[in-house]
Symmetry: C2
Subunit: 350 residues, 2 copies
Amino acid sequence: MIFVIMKEIMFSTMLQATRKLERGTHLVTLNDVAKKANVSKMTVSRVINHPEQVTDELKKLVYEAMQDLNYRPNAAAKALANNRTQIIKLLILEEMDTTEPYYMFLLTGIANELDKSAYSLQLLTHKNIQIGDSDGYIVCGMRKQDEELVKSLKKPTVIYGKNDIGYDYVDSNNESSMERATEYAIRDGYEKIVYIGIDVDEPFALSREKGYAKVMEKYGREKCLYRLENRSRYSARFIRDNWADFPKNTLFLCASDRLGMGVIREIKEKGYDIPNDYGVIGHDGVFLDQIAYPHLTTLKQSTAEMGAACARMVLKKVKENGKPQGSELFETELKLGGTTRNQVKQSSLS
Amino acid sequence: MIFVIMKEIMFSTMLQATRKLERGTHLVTLNDVAKKANVSKMTVSRVINHPEQVTDELKKLVYEAMQDLNYRPNAAAKALANNRTQIIKLLILEEMDTTEPYYMFLLTGIANELDKSAYSLQLLTHKNIQIGDSDGYIVCGMRKQDEELVKSLKKPTVIYGKNDIGYDYVDSNNESSMERATEYAIRDGYEKIVYIGIDVDEPFALSREKGYAKVMEKYGREKCLYRLENRSRYSARFIRDNWADFPKNTLFLCASDRLGMGVIREIKEKGYDIPNDYGVIGHDGVFLDQIAYPHLTTLKQSTAEMGAACARMVLKKVKENGKPQGSELFETELKLGGTTRNQVKQSSLS
DNA sequence: TTAATTTCTGTTACCGATAACACCTGAAAT
DNA sequence: ATTTCAGGTGTTATCGGTAACAGAAATTAA
């Protein structure tokens, strides 16, 4: 602030109050850099956007000038000239109050990455879908019924979550995640491994089931797979209603921490010990696992990193005029809590 | 969208491919509206920004033209001309993984409101404070140690949360919130009301305590007030360690749902009944109250509305060149769960 | 040595909006 | 009837960048 004020005083003292100064205070422009480096502003612009077209010598001069003046490009001007908006819209199609709070981490990851490219974010929820101008979209929580909407988007789009409609996406490697968990459960000495999945016909749910099924077959264990709505009271009720089917030394492998919490609650209610009598493993590892008591053993997603990856992917796609980017899968981390016995050497895991 | 395609076809058919069309596709500009309405673009601009300077007759023409063409102002151009950025930065100074997920709701509220004014959001966290260009700031989770940082901001700033440093803010009415809860607890027949607060020296914590204290005095009850770090394991341990002090028919009034969860857990652990033997009331009502079993009776904050209010306040402040806006307090809603007896007629509450 | 390229840099026009100014009307004042 | 003035509208320059083109210098080819 002091600097700004000083600058203003200096100028008005010099009676040089140009229109530019009256209007605004953006300090350093391309022009300033250009003057300092004794080149045209086009050259400076090239150094930034097409450095290969500029001599090393000039590039050096320009870089130094930019450093000295602490040049920061004006996103609005850039946007206007490129016919871009410098905005990426994030569509959240899920009800947020029924969902776990990992969105916040996802958002943080996205936002930090966008910032680096002077992009900003607009958040749209199912309640507020004003598909205005933007350079691209990131879509989360997409279900089958949202496909039409997503297909109607006219700009580069990346989906957070595997999908069947050929869109570029970023996701956790749900299959390998559950493989690892199942393997761990078996090695941790649990006899029966019951899978409690989420009752939606979506790729993420199917992948998780597949991971479980694969390892159970590999070990010749009997599969035991259920599907519930993703709410702790349903998993609690499920345990209560089917208690006879679950002998001691059973582990419940849950497709979400939320389901895991219901399971824990009900086992404690029955007076059994976790992890000795029964084990529980959840999935997501964002928040609920820490709220649970004992802390849930869970598969922790790298939510913020995945957000960053989404952002990088859309931006790249924007730059390359919508060119397909494929997909990116992130491994989860098995985070041990107090709901498993944890007698396995971590190093012995694949 | 059909409209878009048609328009493109029309133009190319007419072999009128101007440079504008080659470069981009922003459809309708001020100029287009101006032509359609037979006025200059300056008039259109005035209709938008200074309608009082334009005849009703022309205004009508212009509005119609805008409607017909579905005109959407170009935020980048506007930003550039006004020497603005059309960006508001949100600073989250708290660790998000120790905090409840209400930020997501806050964010939604902010984002929706900003959208309406073609503003977008940039999210900054304590890990990533790149205070670049923006027109204003919204700050959340500010603690004493952050005051310097906040004071160094050079643009209109609104704080989410009451503060002592004279900044405009939006917050829940924490005092009246706890007054209501205390009153309710008493009327619901609990003999002893224990307050479990959060151990930070911040206005929100103090206001909540004050609300409790006030009503306890009013009813001539003995105050019993503790402060803990905001984690469920601490409140659980606290209950365990001081169990002797809590006869049956005690209600624990907690400054957060998180603390409330620890209390519930420990009471259940001891084998007592909630809500008959003991009562629990939490605060926040964003997410954890629904995870708790039984559901927590809590004071639900209007988080999204407060977010919207923050956004409106910064935008107003930006428009009015930083003019102070005062503060805005939102009442919480007493949301009854299974942790209180709920024998009180709601209507009898103040 | 001169013509033909290639490589690099500068000039111009433009993106879509706005403030300042110029101008033009008609009503009020003299 | 002429001057003043106010309100209402159009013109111009500008915000800070970038693409397209033009032009100069350095290479290469002949």
